[in-house]
Symmetry: C2
Subunit: 221 residues, 2 copies
DNA sequence: GCTCTCCTCCTACTCGGGTAGGAGGCGGCG
DNA sequence: CGCCGCCTCCTACCCGAGTAGGAGGAGAGC
C-alpha cells in the first residue's frame, strides 16, 4: 500500500524536485501533478490522492481556495500545505480552510516525508517552525506585521540564486551575468526578502535542501 | 558489463557518501571498500576492480604508496586518486606513481562519475581544477609554495563545519558549542585553509556536493 | 497615452566574516 | 621532563555582504 500523492506547485522545477525526492521512498508515489489551483482541484477529483501537497501561491486559483474546493467535494481529502517560506496570515487561513498540515519548503526533506505519512494516516501536523509561529501568535496579540506579500522570484532573481548556490561571490555572479555587483546586490536583497532568509548561506542551504537546482552543474572546473 | 569499483578512504562517512552516489548508477558497482592503504592493496589484489578510487591521506599506508604497490602487482590496474581538496605536490607525485587520474572531492559528482568511466575505459583524466593547476605549474617555474600539509579536519573543526552547513552564523555556532565567536572564527579560518576554500558559502556547497553530513538534520525547527 | 513590473545602476552606510598574530591551558608522547 | 597538537580566547584590521533609498530605461498591458 503506497501513499498516493498529488503535487501542486506552479514552478516546474519545484515539482521536479519533490517528485525526485518522493521517488526515493518506497511507500510514496506521485500519481499526479498540477501547475495551478484549478488543475489541482480537477486532478484531486480524478486521481483521489491520499495526500495533496499544495503550494499556496499559484496562478488561476491559489492553494487556499483550491484547498476549500477540494474539501467541499470530498471532506475526507488530506491536504498538506507546502509553501515557499514566509507565511504569517496564510497559516491560519489555510488551517481554517481545512488543511491537515503545513510544512515549510525549507524544512528538511525528512520532515516533509514524515508529514506526508502522518497526514496520510489521518492525523494533522504542523512543521515545528510553524508550530512555533502559531504558539507565538497566540501568546502575543499585537503582531502588527504588515500584509507582506508572499512573492515568487523573478527570472533574473532565479539566475542569481542559482549562482549563489554554486558558491560564487557577488563580483563573480556579476561577471557571469554581465551586470555590476551592485545590481547583483539588489537582486540578492530581493531574494532574501522574498524567501525570508538572513543571508546567502541560508540561501545555499535552502537550495540544496529543496533540491532546487538539482542536475545543474555545481561548479565550473 | 558494470564497472567494478574499489573505494579506499579512511573516513567511513566519505566511503558511505561515495557508495551512495555510485549506487545510483547502473553501470557502476562498488565491489569492495578499504579504510587504509594496506587494505586497499590487499583488496585490489583480491577483487581485481576495474577502477580503484583512492584517497591520498590514509593510515597505515598512504594512497600514493598504495598506488605504487597495486601497480607493481598489476600494471594494468586503474587508479583514480580522489583527494580531499588541496594538493600541490601530491598531484605530481601521484601521477608519477602511475595514477590514471586525479579528481577533487569538491568537483561535482557528475565529474567523478565521468572520470570513473573514462579511466575504466583505459584513458587518463585530470579534473579541470587539477588540469588548471598543472598548467599553471608548468607555466611558472617558481611556485615557492611551502610544503603545505594536506591536513584532515580535527573533531572540533568538524563540529563547526557541520553547523556552518546548516546555515548558522558564527554567533549561533558559538552558542551551540558553548564557545565564543572568536573561537569559532579561528576554527573556520583553519577549515577554509585546510580545504582550500574561500568562504563559508563554498564550505556549504562542498558539504552538500560531497554529501558530507547526509542524514543529519539540516535545521532545527 | 499611462502604469506597472522588471532590470539595471548608483551612493552611503552598517555589520558580520575572515585574516593575522599572539597567548594560555591541557593532554599525549618520546 | 619537554615538545607538540588541539582548543580556547584575544585585539586589530580589511573587505565583502546586505540594507536603504533613489533613479532611469524597456516592455507589457490597460
Amino acid at each position: 500500500m503506497t501513499i498516493r500523492v498529488l503535487v501542486a506547485d506552479d514552478q516546474a522545477m519545484v515539482r521536479a524536485g519533490f517528485r525526485m525526492l518522493l521517488s526515493r521512498e518506497e511507500d510514496v508515489e506521485v500519481v499526479a501533478e498540477a501547475s495551478n489551483g484549478l488543475e489541482a482541484v480537477d486532478k484531486a477529483a480524478r486521481f483521489q490522492p491520499d495526500v495533496a501537497l499544495m503550494d499556496i501561491r499559484m496562478p488561476e486559483l491559489d492553494g487556499l481556495e483550491a484547498t476549500r474546493r477540494i474539501l467541499a467535494a470530498d471532506e475526507t481529502a488530506r491536504i498538506l500545505i507546502l509553501t515557499t517560506f514566509d507565511l504569517d496570515e496564510y497559516v491560519y487561513e489555510a488551517l481554517r480552510a481545512g488543511a491537515s498540515g503545513f510544512v515549510l519548503k525549507d524544512d528538511p526533506p525528512e520532515q516533509l516525508l514524515g508529514a506526508i505519512r502522518v497526514v496520510a494516516g489521518g492525523d494533522a501536523l504542523l512543521s515545528p517552525a510553524i508550530t512555533k509561529r502559531v504558539i507565538k501568535r497566540f501568546a502575543r496579540v499585537p503582531q502588527p506585521s504588515p500584509p507582506k506579500e508572499l512573492e515568487e522570484l523573478t527570472e533574473r532573481e532565479l539566475d542569481v540564486f542559482r549562482l549563489i548556490s554554486r558558491g560564487l561571490s557577488n563580483a563573480e555572479i556579476g561577471q557571469e551575468l554581465y551586470i555590476t555587483d551592485t545590481t547583483v546586490k539588489t537582486h540578492i536583497t530581493h531574494i532574501l526578502q522574498k524567501l525570508n532568509l538572513r543571508d546567502r548561506v541560508q540561501a545555499v542551504v535552502l537550495a540544496y535542501e529543496t533540491g532546487l537546482f538539482d542536475g545543474e552543474p555545481s561548479r565550473r572546473g
